[in-house]
Structure formats: C-alpha cells, structure tokens
Symmetry: C2
Subunit: 342 residues, 2 copies
C-alpha cells in the first residue's frame, strides 16, 4: 500500500451508474472494494464479472463494520434515509461518504441521526443519461469535478472547537478515493453546492424536459428535422424520470431561483423578437461571452496538445489537520479550485 | 457520368462551414464544382488544398452562366439580397438553391426579383458551433435532414398550371446533389420549415445563450462544477453571435411562438417546485415520453448493429414531373419523410 492509497477497505452501497463505475475504477487500481446492490440482476452481472458484490445489505454492512471500511452511499436520494438507518444499526462505527446529487437533504438526514462526525459528503459531477450497473464503466470520472463537503469542520472551526482526528482521516481517505478515479476534488459547502448545481445541472435537466415537449409538439416534421443543437440540449431527457425528479424536487429552492433567472432572460428575448425590428443582440452577445468564460474555466484546456490534459481549475495542496487547513478549503471553494492532500 | 450524377456543374457562393463542407463532398464524388469565397484567407486556404475557388464574385458568376452551372447560395442571410442581385446581373439563366437556415426571408427576396422559376430552396440540418472554411469537413451531412422547398410547384399546381421543365430539372439536380452528401432530402414548404426549425433549431440556440448566462451568474464555483448536461445544452452558444442573430431575428415570428410554449412549461415547473411538496412529475414524464418519441424518429436507429445505419425516416420514391408528384411531396412533408428521385 502506498502513502496515496485509501487506508481502509471501501464498501459501496448501491451499484448503479455512479457506484458501479466507482467500483470498477477502484478494482482497477487494486483498492480493496466490495459492495451491495439492491438489484438481483445487477448483482448477478457484477459477480459474473468478478466483482465482490452482494444483494444482502445487512451482511454487507456487518462486514464493513468488522473490517473498518469506509462506506460510499450511492443510492438515489429517496433511499438515503433507510440506508442511513441500516448503517446506524449494522455499521455504527464506519466512516461514510455519498455521491448523491443534492447535499442539504442528505446532510439534514445525517444530522438528524447524529452521524455528522463520521460523514464527509460527496458528489461527482459526471454521468450519462443511462442508469444501473449495466451503464457503469471505467474512467467515467476522469477530470470531472468531485465535490467534497466540509461543513462539519467549518462549523467546528467557527466555534473554536477542535476537529476530531477520525473526521480528518475520513476526509483524507475520501480525497484519495477521488484521486484514484482521476476526478478533481473540489471542496464546497453544502449550501453553495446546492445553489451551483441548481444552475449547472438541475436547470439543464428541466430545460431538456421542456424542450423535448416543445419539439415533440411540432409533430413528425419537427421531429424529423431535429439535429445537433436540439439533440444535445435534450439528451438528458433520456434520464430515468424518477432520477430527474429526485434531483430537482429535493433541490427545489435553488432550482426555482435559477429558473426565475432563465424565464426572465427568455421573456426578454421573446419581447425583443416580437417587434418590427427583432433584435436579440444583448442576449446573444452576453451568452457568447459567458460561454467563452465557461469553456475557459471548466475542465481541461482545449488547446493542450498533450494527451495528458491540463486541468484549468486552480490547485491547492493542503495537509488536512494542519494549521489553517479549513480556511484553505474555504479559499479553494471560492475559486472552484481543486485540492490535493498530502 | 452516371444517371444519378448532377447533370451540370455546381457553383457554390460562400465557402464557410456549410458551403465548404458541401464542396469537399462533391469533389470527393468527382462532381464538377467550383466556388466563390469572400474571405481572402479562406480562398487561399481552399486553393492551397487544390479546390477550384476564387475570391472574385463577378468572374465566378460569369463562369457559372457560361457553363450552365447550378448555383448554391451559401452565405449568411444578411448577404443573400446582394448575392441575388449579382446573380440577376451576371448569371441570369442559372438555376439556384441555397442553404440558409430560414426559408421565408430568402423566398421573399427571390420573389421580389421574379426569380422563383429558377429557385429550389434548401437547408441542411447539420453544422457545428464553428464557422468558416477552416471548420468545413467531409461527411458533415451524413444522415442529416436536408430540407428542399417546393412552394413554387405547389402554388402552380393549386392554380392548375403546368410546372416548367426547367424547374423540375433543377429540383432533380438539387436532390441528386443532396444524395451525394448522403443527407436525406425532406420536402418541406417554406412556412412549415420556418415553424419547425423555430422549435428544433432556433429555440435551442436561444436557450443555449440564456443558460450560459445563468451558469456564468453562478461565478467560478458554478463554472467549475458545470458538467455534461450543461456543456451539451450550451454548446451552440459558441456559435458566432452574428450567425445566431441572423437565424433567430429573421425567423422571429415562429421563434416567439415556440418561446411562448417553452416559457409556459418552465413557469409551470417553477410554480410546481415553489411549494411545500415540490412535484414536477407532469413535466418530467411528458418530457421523457417526448424524448423517447424523438429518438425513435430522428435520424438513424440506435439499435442497428450494422455500420450502415438505417434511417428511421419513411422514404418515398418519386419521379419529378410525373403524375401526382407534387401531391407526393405534400404527403412526404406531412410525415417528415425523405424522398428519392428517379
């Protein structure tokens, strides 16, 4: 085991697109990993491929408790409460993280159960419109942002209290697990996460659903003429409806805020088109400038000629538990920066 | 020359993404093709690659007139009027088509000049967010819908008048040119085209601009977290602003109509989220069903295992000039179907 390996086994609860893809990456990098899948067919498929997977949740959690694994909760939002209850009963000493696409509803459930000292939240900003073990694949997370929440440490620091060593150790292991997937660990507080993903993830999902309907309203001719711009903008309407609802409905407040911005811009454009001299210069110029900035800031640089893409996210190297490290997390968050732990 | 070749040389006026890509396909299939490019650097680059390109519009049109070429107008909407004037002066007997993304404004200019008997409108539903000769490439149009308008024939038929043989011959050559690119020729009347592309092309452009702004409003953190759903939905905001404005502002009426549908759906979603029990089941279920239908109808079938993809658009084989052929075009239009001429 090298100093950059995760210091304990990893137990993934839920092996769909995200959990399954994480398991594939961890196995490929020879980390000890096993997991639970509710789906019997998914479990069978995973076992057939040689993965250490069970469809018995209690037995899986008991095993995690006995070997001190870190738990990764990779179930849809609506299943999180019951998984946390099972963890409280069968794996009461395990540290845990999650990959759910909203963070406040998860953190509320964690705090209701008094589990926050052994929880570090997570959310990989990666995925496809497909779901289930059969959709999982290696290297899904390469260069993706993987949000890591740290509200527990920040709140203790604000109160002048020490951060327990167990939490720091869990934080380090979650960062190392993220590094194995070649995602980029971005520290973000729960509230800021939910606001940001309301804009850049949940809003695009709502738009994809609405645009699909408007296109479909055009009948077979419009359907036949739909090309790249339409297909790309509606791709995620292919996501399972229950997953889209779980994301959007549990992040409703932030989503309403960004929807209001969107509706305002579209209404302005509509009014600027409904005149004798249609003119949407303001929208198009601002949109093009915003797009240029976003391209420059998100993910790998296009101009890189090397096959090893250079991230355009600023990097901060920090030593969890060291002096001022929580302030460093706050600073990285304000920049959308990634962290490397040592 | 085989019976499926275009029966005359092709002269492309404007060699950007669309005109340039068309030229590459035609050369590759040994059709006689030459063209004009306003950009001196674009012309130089094309000539250097061995293409027959000039930056002298008058000379190019005189050449087309002398060898009876069919003209392809591939300039932005705002340049169409001056190109038509130049054609009227220097190539008064050439048949012509175009690739402009709105059809009524072009057809209005054609009719103002009394040129409709030698015009068959066109619009390939393909492209990228890049523009200019340097963005052009072979096989850009494979399996794309290539709209061909036929209002001239339909209006004559309604009035019980004969359709001139020259127009029929031009229609056939435009269909054959489209076949060379492996696009699918879809007959559509001018008004129906503009309504449909308002929904499935211009609306996605407006949405991409607005969504880019909303994402950018989230600052560096939101920019850093933007992933696939956001990037896909905003990709076409990278298009040159003047091209987006030309498309949207010249198709304002149809675009306002589809924007109103979109704003209504987003406002309903917003209101259904801004409650104690957020619920967007209606939107997400309808959106997912619409997406499923659209996937089934647009372009190639996914399930095909053959490298030769099967089009899911219904096909109608017809003999231009034959009995009832214009009614067949009307029927194909109502189905979003493609035609093959013989």
């Amino acid at each position: 085991m090298s100093s950059r390996d995760v210091s304990r086994p990893i137990c993934i609860i839920g092996l769909g697109l995200i959990g399954g893809s994480l398991m594939r990456d961890l196995v490929r990098h020879k980390q000890t990993v096993y997991g639970y899948n509710r789906s019997t067919s998914g479990t069978r498929a995973a076992v057939k491929e040689g993965f250490d997977v069970s469809d018995n949740l209690v037995a899986t959690l008991q095993r995690a408790e006995s070997d001190g694994a870190v738990l990764v909760i990779a179930v849809p939002m609506q299943a999180v409460a019951s998984v946390l209850d099972a963890i409280a009963e069968h794996a009461p000493n395990c540290g845990m993280t999650d990959v759910v696409s909203v963070k406040k509803p998860v953190y509320d459930l964690v705090r209701e159960r008094g589990m926050e000292s052994r929880y570090v939240g997570g959310h990989p900003m990666a995925g496809t419109e497909f779901s289930g073990w059969s959709a999982s694949k290696e290297q899904l997370f390469v260069r993706a942002a993987w949000v890591i929440t740290y509200d527990y440490a920040r709140d203790l620091e604000v109160d002048g209290l020490a951060i327990p060593a167990e939490w720091v150790s869990l934080f380090i292991d979650v960062c190392r697990m993220v590094a194995v997937t070649r995602a980029e660990a971005i520290p973000v507080s729960v509230r800021a996460h939910d606001e940001a993903v309301g804009r850049v993830s949940h809003l695009p999902h709502v738009i994809a659903e609405a645009l699909s309907i408007v296109g479909d309203n055009g009948g077979t001719l419009a359907q036949s003429l739909a090309a790249g711009s339409f297909k790309d903008a509606t791709r995620v309407a292919g996501t399972a409806p229950e997953l889209v609802r779980a994301m959007c409905e549990t992040n409703a407040a932030a989503l309403v805020y960004s929807l209001d911005e969107m509706i305002k811009l579209l209404t302005q454009a509509r009014n600027n088109l409904d005149t004798d001299n249609p003119n949407i210069e303001a929208l198009v110029d601002a949109g093009h400038r915003a797009h240029t900035r976003l391209e420059a800031r998100s993910g790998a640089r296009r101009e890189s000629v090397s096959p090893v893409k250079i991230s355009s996210r600023p990097v901060m190297r920090l030593h969890p538990g060291g002096k001022g490290w929580v302030r460093q997390l706050v600073q990285a968050e304000s920049l959308g920066g990634r962290i490397e732990v040592f």
